[in-house]
């Protein structure tokens, strides 16, 4: 089968090479998927750059943490999914830049056959992450004001929509007029250009000095620390990702500003497991179960069917043009989701 391999760590357009490799076989609890489309994530870029901490890997390897496709074979426990169209996170969160990928059943969810390829490929990561963050961790209500950073990005655009669907007031940050316009179209009540404006001052202005009840933060680093200053009394600051670079997180934070601000920092991790307690015993991590994920997935599909939210396709590319779109995403030149069709 054909696959894109990162030959070494470096810039995506420099180190990704198309190659012919062996087809991966599914083990117990895994499914083998004929890939219909690949969706690019920032974690892919962290991996290619050699700074992905969650699952360390050495090149050469096949990046790619999100695929849409159809289950063609399965190991023990996954047989029931054979023939089903699915979205999935491949095993270890890599291996997706390929014609065939293997994914754990726990990270695989059914998709409707009739949904357009690019739209279907744009659903999984942003809506699962945003729903886990806003609905499950922060228990968002219509009374809340929500600050969404990087609101034109994959996760951010989903978060704006889910917050609006719940009736919350949304303040969005993004870079440049086009992204601001897009955030407003999605339903944001206030849109702030973080490149030209002091977003802390603007958020405080927009809330009468009170600050926001919930912050959706996929950026990390200095942005996280600045966001502390616009949290309302009792606010929930959702730590969802570290797009500004995971290196900045090594230092850790001390609770002093969190204590005197009377707000909370909520860690949000999107990953499901078949046996949550056994997984905790082995790793110390707390993941929701696959059954939790299935319920959440069905809610998202129902909201899409009802027109309450929509997947945001930013671009579609052919399989041969994959490195270019990964590079464009790294340089912040894209909006919404970037989908690569396996043609």
């Amino acid at each position: 089968m054909r696959a894109w391999l990162a030959q070494e760590f470096g810039a995506p357009t420099d180190v990704l090479r198309l190659d012919e490799v062996d087809v991966p076989e599914p083990g117990p609890g895994e499914v083998q998927i004929t890939v219909e489309a690949i969706t690019i994530n920032f974690n892919d870029i962290d991996g290619i750059r050699g700074r992905y901490r969650t699952v360390p890997i050495e090149p050469p390897y096949i990046p790619g943490m999100e695929v849409l496709g159809r289950v063609r074979a399965a190991g023990e426990g996954g047989e029931g999914m054979i023939g089903t169209r699915v979205c999935a996170i491949p095993a270890g969160a890599f291996g997706g830049y390929a014609e065939i990928a293997v994914a754990p059943v726990a990270m695989t969810f059914a998709m409707p056959d009739e949904m357009d390829t690019a739209a279907a490929a744009s659903v999984y990561m942003p809506f699962h992450v945003s729903s886990l963050a806003l609905y499950e961790r922060a228990r968002l209500s219509a009374d809340d004001t929500v600050l969404v950073h990087a609101a034109a990005g994959g996760a951010g655009s989903a978060a704006v929509q889910l917050a609006c669907a719940r009736g919350a007031r949304v303040i969005a940050t993004a870079g440049g007029p086009e992204k601001l316009r897009f955030a407003t179209e999605l339903g944001a009540d206030v849109a702030i250009d973080y490149r030209n404006d002091d977003f802390v001052a603007r958020v405080l202005d927009a809330t009468g000095g009170r600050g926001v009840d919930v912050a959706f933060d996929t950026v990390g680093g200095a942005t996280t620390l600045q966001t502390f200053r616009c949290m309302a009394f009792g606010g929930r600051h959702l730590l969802v990702g570290f797009a500004s670079g995971i290196e900045a997180e090594d230092e850790g934070i001390v609770p002093r500003p969190v204590l005197f601000g009377n707000f909370s920092l909520f860690g949000v991790c999107h990953a499901y497991t078949e046996d949550a307690l056994e997984f905790k015993r082995a790793t110390g991590m707390n993941f929701p179960s696959h059954a939790d994920g299935v319920r959440l997935h069905e809610d998202i599909l129902a909201m899409i069917a009802a027109g309450a939210i929509r997947p945001i396709v930013g671009s579609t590319s052919s399989f041969s043009a994959l490195p270019e779109i990964v590079g464009a995403m790294e340089s912040r030149a894209t909006m919404g989701r970037n989908v690569v069709i396996v043609d």
């Binding site: 901490r53 009792g234 090594d250 934070i253 204590l259 005197f260 601000g261 009377n262 905790k280 707390n286």
Partner: protein, 325 residues
């Protein structure tokens, strides 16, 4: 009036000076309280050292809370002289409760809960208010959830142990020796763990059948808090209440993310009077129905205050101390 005053930073036994200080005059909105008893807490030690964030500049009388009777009122204050009160003090302006009298905003004084004597009530309000804000308001602790309390044998910790128990949580006291563990069990903790025995996170997970603890009440900070945080369950809340160890816990944001847990700030200073009244009513109910006991273990005569504060500084006190006249 007689008072203990701090004129320079240092250890309590060295810098607390017995002085004849002027009786403070209540300003607008303030009352003056003739002290019956005063709560003693670690912040008093930190104020002697000038390491507490709210330490006033210059000379000051420490003592953050007390009970007594109203002896004078400022302009526009409608409180009868002789009224018994339980209150925080204007320690940030230098008028603390380690004296014959202190002043405080009338808005900061409350009735003594029925069922508590004046001495017991003197050390009740700050620890229990903070524990209520942390466990109820901020952590939304549910009956049956697992609560770990760090520094559980201290004045702040033991209030959280008792309130956690009164709220129906299963309480694990995390302490530094067996005597403190025994004290906490006696005061209502389901379990007592000595962190010096090692593998604290592993033992907490084992104790909870792999589930982990749902909330951690942390007035201590430092490495113990960092380790207990790794035993949090999904949706677990680490309540940052203080830094009795002298250092905050250093929390990695990435660890909050991969464990789906939260770091929750708990600060009692910003609450409105109507919110405080509601909490006062809830706590008073728990006391009068016998579900919340007072935790005063040691009564310290006024003259012995410096040595008592020094014992607190040296970590040799178990439970809550109150200064009495």
């Amino acid at each position: 009036m007689r008072a203990w005053r701090v004129d320079r930073p240092g250890e309590p036994s060295e810098v607390l000076r017995l002085v004849d200080a002027p009786v403070p005059e209540p300003g607008p909105g303030q009352i003056r309280v003739r002290v019956t008893a005063a709560g003693i807490g670690l912040p008093d030690v930190l104020m002697c050292r000038h390491t507490y964030p709210l330490t006033p500049p210059g000379s000051f009388i420490p003592g953050q809370e007390g009970t007594g009777v109203v002896s004078a009122v400022g302009p526009d204050v409608d409180v009868a002289l002789g009224t018994k009160v339980m209150s925080t003090t204007s320690f940030m302006e230098g008028s603390g409760s380690f004296a014959e009298e202190y002043v405080t905003p009338a808005q900061a004084s409350f009735t003594v809960p029925s069922g508590l004597g004046d001495v017991d009530a003197a050390g009740f309000w700050i620890p229990n208010l903070t524990a209520w804000i942390g466990l109820v308001d901020r952590a939304r602790l549910e009956p049956g959830e697992w609560l770990a309390v760090i520094g559980a044998a201290g004045g702040s910790g033991i209030a959280a142990v008792q309130l956690g128990r009164a709220l129906g949580a299963r309480v694990v006291a995390v302490v530094s020796d067996e005597a403190r563990a025994e004290y906490c069990r006696h005061m209502g903790a389901d379990e007592g763990l000595n962190y010096r025995d090692g593998d604290l996170a592993g033992r907490l997970r084992q104790m909870t059948d792999g589930h982990g603890v749902d909330a951690v009440y942390d007035p201590v900070g430092g490495p113990v808090a960092e380790e207990v945080a790794t035993a949090l369950a999904r949706h677990g809340r680490l309540l940052a209440v203080g830094f009795a160890s002298g250092s905050w816990a250093r929390i990695k944001t990435i660890n909050l993310v991969v464990t789906n847990t939260s770091l929750v700030g708990v600060y009692a200073g910003d609450y409105r009077r109507d919110e405080l009244d509601a909490i006062h009513a809830e706590l008073s109910n728990l006391v009068s129905s016998g579900r919340l006991q007072n935790a005063v273990t040691t009564r310290v005569p006024f003259d012995d205050l410096p040595s008592a504060l020094q014992r607190l500084a040296d970590r040799s006190v178990i439970g809550k101390m109150v200064m009495v006249w």
